[in-house]
């Protein structure tokens, strides 16, 4: 292959979660050789949370990262020149989940209940708060949050009936379902704009390696396109198995795959803009709720600097 | 029964034990001990009998197995072969009726002298009995000249003082059999003489049977009814000498010709085997 002849630069991509399906287009691009074609020698490092991803990026250990938008705003407010480039989860990763047999059908039914969250001010908190505030409910009087952690400890929250609902990543629902705890999502469609993690780089990094973002995004979009074709599912799953062989051994991997593809596909309104597009109004909403919840000490002077859609057209070309 | 009557004056080898007045309490036969660690035969074919109220001493060169013999007699070490019987019951472990004084004083550093002394009572009869024994412990301390040192920690005692304290610890429980391993080695002659006389008095009063390891021939002679002479490599008893001095013994007996004769005899015996 011609790529071998070109000098390859090792690039590290830091992600906050060890699941390979969560980074589906990446593993497909690796497996299909898209990165190699761009002359990129990629490494993926799964570390603990978006903050750690941003820290690794600012330390220069990772050139590209996949943080959530909340922590990205936080880092920006602390003077880190991070820029969000690619919206990986245009349909959000979060959802409000209730037990299958729960009478609750909409968030309005959660009045007077305890809502489980990962941590007391994770991104899911501002997400949920925004929904509840729009319904005229106030935290502390109409509902309360209980930090229950994620994964196993979150499941415990349901099983001990300490929480009636849980605000968390929807992939958790698929996992819990496979373990015999069926959850139902009651997130209103309108709030799916609270998109999830995406690809980000430091501005200084972008200046130092100007062709990295175009090449990386291009391969990602190609991977995404490959993965959305149902005919390629088997192959895509096999590519993900390289990244996380244990996940591939799970019988629910196939159904999780479908869920991921849905969440990664932009809504009707924005599908025309191509993969990776970040609607400014959604950024504004995320920003405002972060300010309202106190996660951001004050409003950012120039929210537009946090993200950029400049490469989207090129990637989708 | 007191030991005051004069007895047959035969200071000779292996006077048959049956000559003796008291009933046998301690019987040891064909005892041998090999230390597993270095395969060293410390004792071989040791036989001896102690009678009720008798005072027997063991002398012998350093390393000939005296401490080993005492530890076996007190049930602290198992013999390799042979019999150890006390009051008709084989000794297969420590017994309440034996009082043992070790060659090292071994006082517990976190207890004051008097607390160290009442320790055996505390162990056998509990704290209340131990508290009740404090006055007696103080008396014993006064007796050995440590009246002022009851509430001092062992780190503040001199070598001889620690040794005296450990004698008190042995005496506090009035044991029927006393096994003493060089109890007075760190004492000056005067204190030693005094302690010897006290020991004689205590044994006579309680009719205790005593078995003493000592390096002082004078001490052995003045205290004992019989003296056993041991030789090393392997440790064995080569001679038994009956001391025919009348009881109660007094310190001026040391200056009698008979005393000098016996001491000279033993020194001779020990000297037979040249040093090294």
């Amino acid at each position: 292959a011609p790529s071998i002849l070109r000098a390859q630069t090792a690039v590290t991509f830091a992600v906050p979660n060890p699941s390979a399906l969560t980074w589906l287009p990446y593993w497909v691009a690796v497996g299909e050789g898209y990165f190699a074609e761009e002359g990129l020698d990629m490494r993926l490092e799964a570390i603990d949370g978006s903050s750690a991803v941003l820290q690794a990026m600012s330390a220069g250990q990772a050139q590209i990262g996949a943080p959530g938008p909340g922590p990205t705003l936080g880092a920006r407010s602390r003077g880190v020149d991070v820029k969000f480039l690619y919206n990986l989860y245009p349909r959000s990763v979060f959802g409000i989940l209730v037990k299958d047999e729960s009478p609750a059908q909409t968030p309005a039914d959660l009045k007077g209940t305890v809502i489980g969250v990962g941590t007391a001010d994770g991104a899911e908190v501002s997400f949920t708060k925004a929904i509840m505030t729009d319904l005229g409910m106030v935290e502390g009087t109409d509902y309360t949050f209980l930090p229950v952690g994620d994964g196993g400890t979150a499941a415990v929250g349901f099983m001990r009936d300490e929480v009636g609902s849980y605000a968390g990543a929807v992939s958790d629902a698929a996992i819990l379902a496979s373990r015999g705890l069926t959850l139902r999502e009651i997130t209103p469609e309108a709030y799916l704009g609270f998109f999830g993690n995406g690809i980000a780089m430091l501005e200084s990094q972008m200046a130092a390696t100007p062709d990295l973002a175009p090449k990386f995004g291009k391969a990602m979009v190609r991977g995404m396109r490959f993965a959305t074709d149902p005919a390629n599912k088997e192959k895509a799953l096999a590519h993900c198995a390289v990244g996380n062989p244990q996940e591939a051994e799970q019988d629910y991997a196939a159904s999780l795959y479908d869920g991921v593809v849905v969440r990664m596909t932009p809504t009707e309104a924005f599908i025309g803009q191509g993969y990776g597009y970040q609607p400014p109004e959604h950024w504004q909403a995320i920003h405002d709720s972060a300010v309202a919840s106190g996660a951001l000490p004050e409003a950012l002077p120039d929210l537009a600097a946090v993200y950029s859609n400049e490469f989207v057209a090129g990637w989708n070309a | 029964m007191t030991m005051a009557e004069p007895r047959p004056l035969t200071a000779g080898p292996a006077a048959p034990a049956s000559d003796y007045a008291g009933r046998p309490v301690y019987e040891i036969a064909r005892l041998s001990k090999t230390y597993a660690r270095n395969r060293l035969t410390a004792l071989t074919d040791v036989s001896l009998t102690l009678h009720k109220g008798e005072f027997v001493s063991v002398v012998g060169s350093s390393g000939c197995g005296k401490s080993t013999l005492l530890k076996i007699m007190s049930g602290l070490l198992p013999p390799t072969t042979g019999r150890v019987v006390l009051e008709g019951r084989p000794v297969t472990g420590p017994r309440d009726d034996i009082g043992m004084m070790f060659q090292q004083a071994t006082l517990l550093p976190w207890k004051t002298t008097v607390e160290n002394i009442i320790l055996p009572i505390e162990i056998r009869q509990g704290r209340a009995a131990a508290r009740a024994a404090v006055p007696r412990a103080m008396d014993l301390l006064k007796l050995v000249g440590l009246g002022d040192f009851g509430h001092v920690y062992p780190g503040e005692l001199s070598g001889g003082m620690a040794q005296r304290a450990s004698i008190c610890r042995m005496l506090i429980s009035n044991p029927a059999v006393l096994l003493l391993d060089e109890p007075f080695s760190a004492l000056d002659e005067l204190t030693r003489d005094f302690m010897n006389m006290e020991l004689q008095r205590i044994c006579a009063e309680q009719q205790s049977t005593a078995f003493l390891v000592t390096h002082s021939l004078a001490e052995a002679v003045i205290l004992s009814d019989r003296i056993l002479v041991m030789k090393p490599r392997p440790g064995r008893i080569v001679e038994e000498i009956v001391i025919d001095l009348p009881r109660p013994r007094t310190l001026d007996m040391i200056n009698t010709p008979r005393f000098g004769e016996i001491v000279a005899h033993i020194r001779d015996l020990l000297g037979k085997e040249a040093f090294q």
Partner: protein, 282 residues
């Protein structure tokens, strides 16, 4: 040391301590602190070698230290959190002491404990405690009980190992003495082996006092709750590193207090061990 000493002068011992021991404590601590802070400042504020979202500058941290201190002093929400963590640490330490000590005695005193129980304890303790957090929460809920369990779990092992080691510390002479006095196994244990082993036990307690802090914070990290660990995690998740470090510094005051309380207790209880001056004899 004069070559021709005045025959009437007393011999004066100049206790020649090594130079390193003559430095007064506060000077040494301040100098050490100054060096650390200077390097820290250099790496962060001056050269920007370390990004502020990884390591805040000393000045930023100080500002947050004052903020947190103010909140604590005025009885703000952080005081509640600190109180929660303190309670967690207290109970966990107590439980770790009781269980660790009992297991240590079992392991050090019986062949059964040494050969059959110890391998299991080692195996359990090697396992990442994090994996047990859900178990503890399932059984004990999201309250401090589950954090207490996790912290106690972490702190128990050092106490077990140290206590067991301490039981071997008595000399053969001392064992012989107790045997000769007809002491029961329990008496030998209580009156000889444990007092002799106290310095070992305290080594374990010191290590555990630090472990229990780590355990409580880990528990609060993983399982929510209202303690200091949760505050730290919140701050960390918003990359508010100055706050993270300020909180951690207050937390280490709690750890220091616990550690030196144990050290003080050791000085009192192991009073007979006079060899407590470094380098000295008398």
């Amino acid at each position: 040391m004069t070559a021709t000493p005045d025959p009437n002068a007393d011999t004066v011992w100049v206790e020649h301590e090594a130079l390193i021991d003559r430095i007064p404590r506060w000077v040494a601590m301040l100098v050490l602190a100054a060096i650390v802070i200077a390097i820290w400042d250099l790496a962060t504020a001056r050269t920007g070698w370390v990004s502020p979202i990884i390591l805040p500058s000393p000045a930023e941290t100080l500002a947050d230290l004052i903020f947190v201190g103010h909140n604590l002093l005025t009885g703000g929400y952080m005081l509640d959190a600190l109180w929660t963590t303190t309670r967690t640490v207290f109970w966990a330490f107590l439980i770790a002491i009781v269980i660790g000590f009992s297991l240590g005695v079992l392991v050090g005193e019986t062949k059964f404990g040494e050969r059959a129980v110890m391998p299991y304890l080692v195996a359990i303790d090697t396992m990442p405690k994090v994996a047990f957090a859900p178990l503890f929460i399932a059984w004990l809920g999201f309250d401090i009980a589950s954090k207490v369990a996790l912290a106690a779990f972490i702190a128990t092992f050092p106490i077990v190992v140290s206590t067991a080691a301490g039981l071997y510390a008595a000399s053969e002479n001392e064992r012989m003495l107790f045997k000769a006095m007809g002491a029961s196994r329990m008496q030998t244990l209580l009156r000889l082996k444990l007092p002799t082993g106290l310095p070992h036990v305290f080594t374990g307690l010191k290590i555990a006092s630090v472990g229990v802090m780590a355990g409580a914070i880990t528990g609060e990290f993983l399982g929510g709750g209202q303690g200091f660990g949760a505050l730290i995690r919140q701050s960390a998740s918003t990359l508010d590193t100055p706050r993270v470090f300020a909180l951690i510094l207050y937390l280490s005051l709690l750890g220091l207090a616990l550690f030196f309380a144990v050290a003080w207790l050791q000085k009192r209880l192991v009073f007979w061990n006079k060899a407590d001056r470094p380098g000295g004899v008398g």
